[in-house]
């Protein structure tokens, strides 16, 4: 039974929550999404039924009952379309942020919450950004906050092992403290492998 937009509104509420949750990435609600698509098809069916019953030379003043009903069905189709697009759009803007925050490779628990098309989008967006940055020869994702000092002191949290820093190999063992350039530290801090150490 067509619900006149109730499911669509639920989906938009879900989108709002996706934007509001900052400590994780919510999974794509495929179930609800498909329910809205199905409901849209139902409305479309009703609309066709109404259209087929409209008599062209109806002289009744104002509204043919079929026309009034048809308008409402048509409106419902447009409404559901808007809800669906808004949901996809909200997630898309969030996925773009992932590229800036976490770099080209996403952790598994986040990738698992993306739908297949969203993964393709992320890949495409990531490639586009990477090739642009290669072209202008500048990493745009670092220095998101203006630095006060080119060097920072960091403490290792994750297990990194041997890393090539500043053209020499350094061993970043857990809980060890190092001094390195801010540009090198920033992506690793964003990924949660290092933290800024303030002694």
């Amino acid at each position: 039974m067509a619900m006149f937009g109730k499911k669509g509104a639920e989906l938009v509420r879900e989108a709002k929550q996706t934007l509001a949750t900052t400590d994780q990435f919510r999974p794509f609600n495929k179930d609800l999404f498909e329910q809205v698509v199905k409901e849209t098809e139902e409305h479309y069916g009703h609309l066709q039924e109404r259209m087929s019953q409209i008599r062209v030379n109806d002289s009744t003043e104002g509204g043919d009952p079929n026309f009034v009903g048809g308008c409402a069905q048509h409106r419902s189709v447009l409404r559901n379309k808007r809800c669906l697009l808004a949901y996809v759009n909200a997630r898309m803007s969030k996925i773009k942020h992932l590229r800036w925050d976490l770099g080209a490779v996403l952790p598994d628990d986040i990738t698992g919450n993306l739908s297949a098309t969203e993964r393709t989008f992320f890949q495409g967006y990531s490639d586009a950004l990477s090739s642009y940055m290669a072209e202008i020869n500048l990493d745009l994702t670092v220095d998101s906050t203006p630095p006060k000092d080119p060097y920072v002191q960091i403490r290792v949290i994750g297990n990194l092992g041997e890393v090539l820093l500043d053209d020499q190999e350094t061993s970043l063992l857990p809980h060890s403290i190092h001094f390195m350039t801010r540009t090198e530290a920033e992506p690793l801090v964003m990924q949660g492998l290092l933290e800024i150490y303030q002694g």
Binding site: G63, V68, C71, A72, R75, L102, V152, H175, M190
Partner: protein, 194 residues
């Protein structure tokens, strides 16, 4: 007209308004819980979502009745002391809904009433936003509509960022989307740590 993808605009249009059907409408019986068959008869009074009502009203198929929270009683309350009225409870989209209804409603004073109402509440709200404690959620936050809450948060955030800048400077932090720190630490096995 708001952005097509604006989530709040979409949710605001989901608010119900009461309309009066001027003509018979086929196949809309679902909308009227009191209806026994598939159609809505001419003259029926039904609650439908704004997005539907707006369109039908522009086509002159229905006439709109203003929701109860724009009535005379509430207006008197606002005149008495605007900042104490619990608008959030009446409708979180009080202003946006009113703005959309104003051109199609029979009441010409609605627009000026909304402006008067916001002016009355704005000054008080902004004052509080800059002075209340930053950590606790103040009690009067419940009285605000969604738009007012956004204004309030914006003012409070500006105070917060000013303090942050003033006292400690910008810091690098891990991306918030990864969740709290504990989860990553738990992934490391104890053998690797020793």
């Amino acid at each position: 007209m708001a952005n097509y993808y604006d989530l709040d605009d979409i949710l605001m249009e989901e608010e119900y308004v009461t309309v009066h059907f001027k003509f018979e409408a086929k196949g809309l019986g679902v909308l009227d819980p009191g209806s026994e068959h598939d159609d809505i008869e001419a003259g029926a009074v039904v609650d439908i979502p704004l997005w539907l009502a707006h369109d039908l009203c522009l086509r002159k198929f229905v006439s709109i009745k203003l929701p109860s929270f724009y009535n005379e009683r509430i207006r008197k309350e606002i005149q008495a002391d605007a900042s104490c009225v619990d608008l959030g409870r009446y409708c979180p989209y009080f202003y946006e809904l009113g703005l959309r209804l104003a051109p199609i409603s029979p009441d010409p004073t609605l627009g000026s009433f909304l402006l008067y109402c916001l002016q009355g509440r704005y000054k008080d709200m902004l004052c509080k936003a800059h002075t209340v404690a930053l950590t606790t959620a103040p009690k009067f936050l419940n009285l605000l509509t969604r738009e007012e809450t956004q204004l309030f948060e914006a003012a409070r955030d500006s105070v917060k960022s000013y303090n942050k800048w003033r006292f400690q400077g910008a810091r690098l932090e891990r991306a918030a989307v990864l969740g709290r720190k504990r989860r990553l630490n738990a992934l490391l096995s104890p053998f690797e740590l020793t």
